[in-house]
Subunit: 254 residues, 2 copies
């Protein structure tokens, strides 16, 4: 059992940023600067080729910490951010770049590679959740949400399916192939983002993945635009979704 | 040119309610009790079998008036609310009830009937908009939005397609058949509500109608559930959508 070691701390605009390591896995925990009581925790999965402090992560963290009073944690996915790439990572990335340069379909490579990353990342996330819940400002009883798009969905779907502590999740923007069967085991409320004119992920596949979730409450948000044009207002919407599902169950301070 | 005659006025919870007639068409205008300056106008189309003061209308009006500071107007559709039914209305409704009782498809009857209602209602809405914009608290320069689900979409799609004064619209929950070609002429931002497990309107048809809008910004919100289970949070989302598109352009008081 790895415990969480804080390695750096800074603060700006009402948000405390604490870098941590958990064994070999680096992460970051953002928290309200003003908060002393317990608050819900949101786990955030970054996208493929990105990392724990990518602007898409810090921007969402600001909405969730300052807007909702949540704690927000991100860990680098295997081969991403401050983590070394394995020989397998290098081979897969080279194959992806070759396919992209040749105008060949990238889907099969991304699906296979992300599925492998998820196998490694899911137990890392579960260990991180164990460690985060030992912090007094989070605790083991509070509600936990998850948000991750792209690679964050490839890792998040098996994580949420296997982790009963996570009670609401935001997903989107991933090929369905390796995820459909796992999605059928998820019953917690879901918000699912799709780009209607996605040039990389076929529309039918995205709709099939949304359809697969067994959740009684699930909402598809499909916006006009291509893969990288996901509107900023969907980050606001995701924060409101998580606030609706996590906020009411905030545990009082012990 | 009919002018708008106010027939009754009351006030509760920060909202002024004014009944009006415009020729033979009865309507209602809700406004902020506190407002003296000009504010944007939202036209709201009620659902089939409902009327201008149906709880779905008053509930949305409260969000739009109290939450956003908008004026909100609804007129009774032909054959609805305080308006008499024509022999044609009676025949169509009888045919619809017969089909429903026999478990036969209602779609073809509703599509045909609503298309006829829209032919009558669109010029009525345009005259109402003319009259409403002559009120000093609305004015001819301010932004105008539209929101209507079901019959409100059957009327709203041709209205918005033919009415350049309307610059943002919320639609949803209608068969595509009579609307697809008209939707292709709409370019303003759209939010479109779909029930994913709609037992009356086929999913493919709803997606085809969303696909048809030529709008550069359009968002599909599809929620798990049957036809009458549209979640209440979609009314909040619609209000935010209209606030985003209308609020910034509020004209200063003349």
């Amino acid at each position: 059992m790895h415990s969480l070691q804080f390695t750096d701390e800074s603060s700006s605009n009402g948000m405390v940023e604490r870098d941590f390591t958990m064994g070999d896995v680096p992460g970051v925990l953002w928290s309200p600067a003003s908060g002393t009581g317990r608050a819900p925790l949101v786990l955030m999965g970054h996208g493929g080729g990105a990392h724990k402090k990518h602007p898409a992560m810090t921007g969402r963290a600001r909405l969730l910490v300052n807007g909702c009073g949540f704690h927000v944690a991100v860990i680098d996915a295997p081969g991403h951010g401050d983590r070394p790439r394995s020989a397998h990572d290098e081979r897969e990335i080279a194959e992806l770049r070759t396919a992209q340069a040749a105008g060949e379909p990238e889907g099969p490579i991304v699906v296979r590679y992300n599925a492998r990353l998820a196998e490694i990342a899911v137990p890392e996330w579960q260990a991180a959740l164990d460690a985060l819940q030992r912090l007094p400002e989070i605790g083991a009883e509070g509600p936990v949400g998850y948000i991750g798009i792209g690679l964050g969905t490839a890792i998040g779907v098996p994580l949420v399916a296997n982790e009963p502590r996570i009670t609401a999740a935001v997903f989107g923007m991933h090929w369905p192939d390796a995820l459909i069967e796992t999605a059928k085991r998820i019953t917690v409320p879901i918000e699912f983002d799709v780009q209607w004119d996605n040039e990389r992920i076929p529309r039918e596949g995205s709709l099939a993945l949304f359809d697969a979730f067994a959740s009684k409450e699930k909402t598809l948000h499909a916006n006009a635009g291509t893969h990288f044009e996901l509107p900023r207002f969907e980050a606001d919407s995701a924060a409101r979704f998580l606030a609706r599902h996590l906020d009411r169950a905030v545990a009082p301070p012990a």
